[in-house]
Amino acid sequence: MSHILVANEVTKQFGSHTALKNVSLEIPKNSIYGLLGPNGAGKTTLIRIINQITYPDQGSVYFDGELLKPEHISQIGYLPEERGLYKSMKVGEQALYLAQLKGLSKAEAKKRLKYWFERLEIGDWWNKKIQELSKGMAQKIQFVVTVLHEPKLLIFDEPFSGFDPINANIIKEQILSLKENGTSIIFSTHRMESVEELCEYIALIHKSEKILDGKLSDIKKAYKNNIFKIGLETDNQQSILNEMEGKFLILSQEYDSKEKQLNLSVQLPSNESGEILSFLGSRANVNGFIETIPSANDIFIQTIQNKNIDNE
């Protein structure tokens, strides 16, 4: 598989502070890649290196197979976390200016802006000044400006901050449709809910180092520990539990005597569920059986905790 971006052992130092330490990443084309990590981990520094705002002390970055160079700027779109617009400039003028800075001709920029403004139903804002718009409205303009020059790679740093749920959803749909059209997307955040919905790949950066990366589904598989949630309808829960004690590891249990419902959480020695299913099937009515897949959030917290323990 070809990659839109490859970072090779990138190290960046600010005085005595190491912002990135030997970070290597491979970001596949036409995917949404989650760049995760707590605040101050080094995500923004990495993104700024990709945008050539700063340069790595060591290591190299390749964009679409070539060593990163100034011409690539026009093929990258970047929505920074710390973002804003000129307050006293009109929306249309400002969008045109920023689009031209990305290398679009004035006529082309105007055409595309018209299209996007209609798509997001904000056409009548053209002559308004930014200071007259609400924060959410300004964020929409910011989004349009970021994607307008149709870059191969889009980088969104906390794109949903400042949006209400409805508009966040609109933007999420736009991001997904951009991906459908072949754009590769880096998505940097510390909010895990959105990661689950959007990202195919993730990398976890913690204290300047990459501590985990890969396909989200693979990582989840690797992180699950054969825990199953089981629901049983039974009268004699005590005898079933007694019988199970010896055979399986029960993590939690609760019984609703009115509904005659027993809910269990059980860890199995392997992924094999045949044995426990046949055991339970002969003794009670199984009305729930599902493997617990760790959420991105669980993985995030668990990995960082493990890392901290290792370091101590």
Partner: protein, 447 residues
């Protein structure tokens, strides 16, 4: 269109569209001209007001001295005591009372004469009275010496020393003051421009930081381009503003003078100038009219073309140096109140240059202090321009000094812009802290 042109255009348009900028541009000429006209008008008004002065003359002299004129009326009191005359003066609302006692001779009368008034009398009134008495005294003394007034006038004829340079060029008094005014005006212009528009550059950088657009732009253009675009765009807006000021100011002044019928010459006499300049302009008016041709010739001798060329060179380099420092300051801080500690060291050399110019260059344009400060890069744009009206080459600024000064300035320009660009590049992405000088130094080492 290149990115730099785009940035310059935006900065220029943003600046000239700014409401306060527009207001300042069109209001300032009115304010300035209005002030000059007001001062001139008030001076005339003051002079025109007719003053009434009571005269109590108990002596046998001064029968013809205190005669009513356009500016002053004299009312004679007769056969009353001094106390009664004072009371009458007050009750009649006169400006004051001149009292000439009865003495044995004129000198004694003059010695004992008094002027009484409600407040301290104005200098003009006092001058007039003193002149009247002095001329009468002189008449009397001449008579005692047996000289006719004609003989006296002959004796008192003024004398001017002929002056010439070693090259045989004729020289005239007062031309140095005119040169000082021209040099001072150029130097002052540069200082004002740097302080006003450097400040604009700084505020514009701070605005980009606080509105958080900076990172959006930096991902499209190099910080250095943004900084230079901002500096150039702002200065173009500044030049536009200056041009409008000069043109509209000149037009307004002419219209104003025509409407109020004010003699322009009264402006130079009437304190319309800054004190420092007024002393320089204190040229003998008679000599001026006599030598007007010579002056014109001398002013012609000032290398106007060369001065304009060097003005542009020094102006551009000086402005670029200072405004890139201003840009770096703007990038280092989060809001304008934090700029104070950095601004002062920037303004200091500018002030120093102006002071050195007024106190040292004008009295000794080629002295060691003038030379040193016209070589030192942070003061040379101002000090060198103040020296230039004395010419280039012999008698004026030696060529080697001019070239050295410009070379040092160019070197400094490259160095300072490099340092400022580094601070700018790091600073614009640092939010929420007020850096120390030590921290700024650390930023220089970031790659």
């Amino acid at each position: 269109m290149s990115k730099l042109t785009l940035i310059i255009k935006r900065e220029y348009i943003a600046k000239v569209r700014n409401k306060s900028f527009v207001v300042m541009t069109f209001l300032s000429p009115f304010l300035m001209v209005g002030m000059v006209l007001l001062i001139a008008y008030l001076t005339q008004l003051n002079d025109n007001e007719k003053k009434v002065i009571g005269v109590l003359n108990e002596s046998g002299y001064f029968a013809n001295e205190f005669v009513t004129s356009d500016a002053t009326s004299y009312i004679n009191f007769k056969d009353i005591s001094l106390a009664a005359a004072k009371d009458s003066t007050v009750s009649l609302g006169f400006y004051g009372l001149i009292y000439l006692p009865n003495e044995s001779n004129l000198e004694q009368v003059a010695q004992r004469a008094f002027f009484y008034s409600k407040d301290a009398p104005s200098a003009t009134v006092l001058d007039k009275l003193e002149n009247s008495i002095t001329s009468r005294l002189r008449q009397e003394r001449l008579r005692e010496l047996g000289l006719s007034p004609k003989e006296y006038a002959e004796m008192d004829r003024s004398y001017n020393l002929n002056i010439e340079t070693f090259d045989g060029l004729q020289n005239i008094k007062g031309i140095n003051e005119i040169k000082a005014i021209i040099g001072g005006a150029f130097g002052y212009l540069i200082m004002m421009f740097i302080i006003i528009y450097g400040g604009f550059v700084m505020r514009s950088v701070i605005e980009e930081k606080t509105s958080r657009i900076i990172e959006v732009i930096i991902s499209s253009v190099k910080p250095f381009h943004l900084m230079m675009g901002k500096i150039i765009g702002t200065s173009l807006a500044g030049i536009t503003q200056f041009a409008i000021w000069i043109v509209s100011g000149a037009i307004l002044l002419f219209i104003g003078l025509a409407i109020f019928d004010i003699d322009p010459a009264s402006l130079t006499k009437g304190g319309g100038m800054a004190p420092g300049m007024a002393s320089g302009a204190n040229v003998d008016v008679d000599a001026l009219t006599q030598n007007i041709q010579l002056y014109a010739q001398e002013i012609f001798e000032i290398p106007i073309i060369a001065m304009l060329v060097f003005f542009i060179i020094y102006f551009v380099l000086g402005y670029l140096i200072y405004s890139s420092i201003y840009a770096a300051i703007g990038a280092a801080v989060d809001n304008e109140t934090d700029t104070q500690q950095f601004i002062f060291p920037v303004i200091l050399p500018l002030m120093l240059a102006i002071y050195v110019g007024f106190f040292s260059v004008f009295s000794n344009p080629n002295g060691p202090i003038a030379v040193a400060f016209s070589l030192f890069p942070l003061t040379s744009p101002i000090v060198m321009l103040m020296r230039l009206p004395w010419g280039i080459g012999e008698g004026g600024v030696p060529m080697w000094q001019l070239i050295t000064s410009i070379l040092i300035l160019i070197g400094t320009f490259i160095g300072i812009v490099w340092v400022a660009a580094k601070i700018y590049r790091v600073g614009i992405l640092m939010y929420g802290k007020k850096p120390s000088y030590k921290e700024l130094y650390k930023w220089l080492k970031y790659s």
